[in-house]
Symmetry: D2
Subunit: 343 residues, 4 copies
């Protein structure tokens, strides 16, 4: 960190700061200037918090100079992380963008789920998504089919060969969900459920981590860092909209710029979820296109067999026909994007 002393700081004040930092094992790079003194201290931030040293007499300001994400950041790993599944599907780097699609939640109607899965397969998608464990703002909303839902998803995989991505909401449920899922999804509301992050971090299975509705880029990458720090480096990030100033016309503000920002600072794959990111059916196609040209490694889209009778997220779900029509457009766009250069 860089410690900037007040112009009128005394030598005693400066010495006290230096002594403290050295005690904590920091390497000091000191400069008594004629205008002001600047101390560069290199060491383990955990041993001496910036705020702590900032409260010493004579200190004007303390600045951090390194990004705090060591494994998720580009500094430690320049090349993009590409996650490869046993069936050959790849996500990340210069690979073609993938499509994850399916209903918000898995419901009683197995046939409906299979019809959606067949549609996803038909249009070239790689993943069937669907919630078996559902985070619901209200306890009076449908809470998910739990293991039964996982079985249905496995059935869809069996029939179509699609990979299964589904949410796990609690550390206790990880073993069960991991038995069925190909990708463990961490929802936006659990982005900072650190016990859950550490638990999935111990599994050898890709994790899709959704950005919290008010998470900064730094908090998002630090959440990924928790998973990686626990041992699992197969993390897929997902931008799904942040809370904005206007909730009249959309559910969230899909932060398209987060895609190229994260690609600059991190080597991890990043996809976008325009369904939750907007909450409006008519916005899914334009925002899907926007995410793709901005460099997203994939899209997650809600499709339901019978949206009018579904329990959740009706306003943002496409029916099968709408989905297939949109995918024609998107496939054209994906086909045109030059994955050797596009970002």
């Amino acid at each position: 960190m860089i410690i900037i002393m007040e112009p009128n700081a005394t030598k005693e004040q400066i010495d006290k700061v230096v002594k403290k930092m050295e005690e904590k094992g920091f390497k000091i790079n000191l400069n008594y200037g004629d205008v002001m003194t600047v101390i560069a201290a290199i060491g383990d931030k955990r041993l001496m918090q910036p705020e702590s040293i900032a409260s010493f007499d004579g200190v004007r300001n303390v600045k951090l100079i390194q990004e705090p994400f060591k494994m998720a950041g580009r500094e430690s790993k320049q090349e993009d992380t590409v996650i490869e599944f046993p069936n050959g599907v790849k996500i990340g780097g210069l690979e073609k963008s993938v499509i994850m699609a399916g209903p918000c939640s898995v419901e009683e109607d197995l046939d409906g789920l299979l019809r959606v899965a067949e549609s996803v397969k038909k249009v070239g998608g790689q993943f069937i998504r669907g919630g078996a464990f559902k985070p619901r703002t209200s306890p009076y909303d449908f809470q998910g089919m739990e293991e039964k839902g996982l079985e249905y998803l496995a059935k869809a995989r069996e029939t179509t060969g699609l990979l299964v991505v589904t949410e796990v909401m609690d550390s206790l449920d990880v073993p069960l969900v991991a038995e069925y899922a190909d990708v463990l999804q961490i929802g936006a509301r659990n982005m900072q459920n650190f016990k859950l992050l550490k638990t999935v971090g111990k599994y050898n299975k890709p994790v899709m981590l959704k950005r919290g509705a008010a998470a900064t880029i730094k908090e998002f990458l630090l959440a990924a860092e928790h998973i990686m720090h626990a041992g699992n480096h197969q993390v897929i990030l997902c931008e799904r909209g942040i809370k904005g100033i206007d909730s009249s016309y959309t559910r969230n503000t899909l932060d398209i710029a987060a895609i190229p920002i994260i690609k600059k600072y991190s080597h991890l794959p990043i996809i976008a979820d325009p369904s939750h990111g907007t909450g409006r059916r008519y916005l899914i196609e334009p925002m899907s296109k926007a995410a793709l040209v901005a460099g997203a490694h994939g899209l997650m889209i809600e499709v339901q067999h019978d949206p009018d009778n579904a329990y959740s997220d009706v306003a943002q779900s496409l029916n099968i026909e709408q989905f297939e029509n949109m995918m024609q457009e998107l496939n054209r766009l994906i086909g045109r994007l030059n994955y050797a250069n596009h970002c």
Copy 2:
């Protein structure tokens, strides 16, 4: 819900909506007006989502007319909830505001913790707080002493008679934390960790639920509803600051108005945490006063024996002397507030 039809909606369109709602068990209150038709439908929203009916032809708009929190809201329970502890301490309603204070995290120095506890006791506080399980944005920050930390807190209770409030971060840890704590704290990042909410909802022990950093009032009360719905009605709410547009001068924006708002809509006690709510030492006293006069049932304040050497939240922690000086001021204010009338 109120369903407003387009001025030019056909009778067929209207009938289709009515039929659908009746099928779902809604009681219909229909009005064919000469300007437009308005349908009032009373029933279980879960069976027919507003968004779903809004997508029917001829429907202009669908409005909900009831607050969705049944147990946490005033509609079902007019009188304030007052939580009483075995030692006679009460929180809520017209009871005098309580003080919860202590270090951000419990650290190795047991003596320091005991000195803080004695100070809290001395100035009239009722609760010692301290984190044994710590949610940390970065995996490289101190993660807490876990059970050892709980033992230290129990020791502080033994010595001083203070009640213990401490955070539980994962459903798996609830049994352990519940063994030691008098109040189970749910942190802001876990406000929508629904499995955790349901788990603490099964315990007969007061829960302090912190507002998420970007949670609306409605989401906050619905999180409390999850706990109550699982069976535990002893919920204390805590306003601790929301993400704002300016993070240069404070860590969060302490939403003082949330206190009187929540007192209007809910019967549950509500306290404020000016330490996390501002992140700056010099703001704790003015914001504590503001919370009290706005009607808070209590305050949660960070005090550390040796802030300069603490692992976490240094910039927002008072040392013992600063805390005792501030409490002189606050006690004067608490003494003056007319708890029979003040809100």
Copy 3:
């Protein structure tokens, strides 16, 4: 508006509301239901504010049912507004997306400005932009060259045939700026400077209105409504980023979804400004593409002859070479978009 009475509202309370509304000239559509009474009142909201009637006894809730923008909205005008300039350039509807580019502020170096203008012309742009009057957060920053700057812009138009778009900051300056500009730009900070809106509303010259940094879609369209209400229907909207929760990696959050939202609710053309919208050079290209595929009618981009020595907005300005390289990419994309269908 729809007035929902409490289930236990008395007949007297209902009658009082109806009487009041009728006095104010509202047409009443009343329904005494057996569950609750719903009153639909059609009339001039100005004569009876919803908040006022909401404060009557027995009223549970008052809901507005119409979008408040009459001229800017699609309800009054279905077909897209296309603005055509004397030189044949068109903006809006299904016309090809236009490019407005140039320096943030016009500075002393006329040659530099002309070189930028030639570059804009060369790559197929239609407008040269540049600020002669500069809104600056600090009084110590460069405040603009005023009339001299306008003369320089006129010189650039003369040389290249490009149209001139430049900001006017105060109602007093409108006559002067209108003498030189082809498009009068209203900056984000002046989006609700209503006197200025009314003043430009009296000119027969296209206005480009930038969205305020914290303006909702409704406030944005109502600002356009002010201009149209004063008589000028040639309004071009510009999305330029809103304040978000994270200002570490971008200056603003470019709200790409606002583009298709506005195209749904308004017939006015909408362009995007990825330079101010992100504040980072490396984000301009991906966000330009995102805006175009989401349906933007044009882009406004900052290009400077010598960014390293410019007075303002250095971090977000491209130099001529960077701009021309990017335009190769963008022209390819614009060429491919199907303007007969793309939204």
Copy 4:
């Protein structure tokens, strides 16, 4: 500014930065460390933007070290600014908090206005407020009585001896409004209408500057700086709520912490407007108290003679009886606050 070079920056890269900064007249304080090189450069930021130098090769980061508000900040003026009016009323520093009250807008009913003014006088208030020029989000809302409204306010002053505070919305109107008003109010939407700031800056009359709905503390103080830089140092700041994540229960989020923050960084008086800051009648009293104990130098409160028939801001206006009841409570609190110490 502090320029931090990359650990592997070459001597040539460092020399190039130093040379550039020296050319621009900066005084350089250079430190070749063995870990990294840090350059402290003291000079006029306008001549060399931080972003510009940050784009040089080998530069890791550039940090500013000074607050940018020179006149509004405490650095240049330690003692509080106290504004004194000809009739002896004082605002700022350790003076007792003042009350500004009156209707949102001045309407046809002069008698009503006079009755409000008498009430304000009776309860010890010092200022009558009321809008003659009204900023309105929609062009269809009441736009104000303009000069007639100013005359009414002058009449109220004549009758009661209260000082008049009223909004000026455009630089053109400043001479007219200044003829009638004792305090020129700049509304939140015009906080960055720089021409207007400069114009009022040329008058020898106190200005009350309201914080923009999404303005940071820094932007707020820089707007005050614009006025002061133009010559007028009598600036009263007013916190009136910022846009938050939740607009269901309040119009804005009143940022109480901004009061002690501004008192720390600026010597200017700061008041609060709980009426606009909350938009709800029942919140005005608790938030008024909160603002006062947090150190506000005054309050601005909306009171209307006949709220049910007013044209604007009905939901947040008190009637005379409600106002007088509340003032009893507030006067007790103001009486108790120790103005020699309270902050």
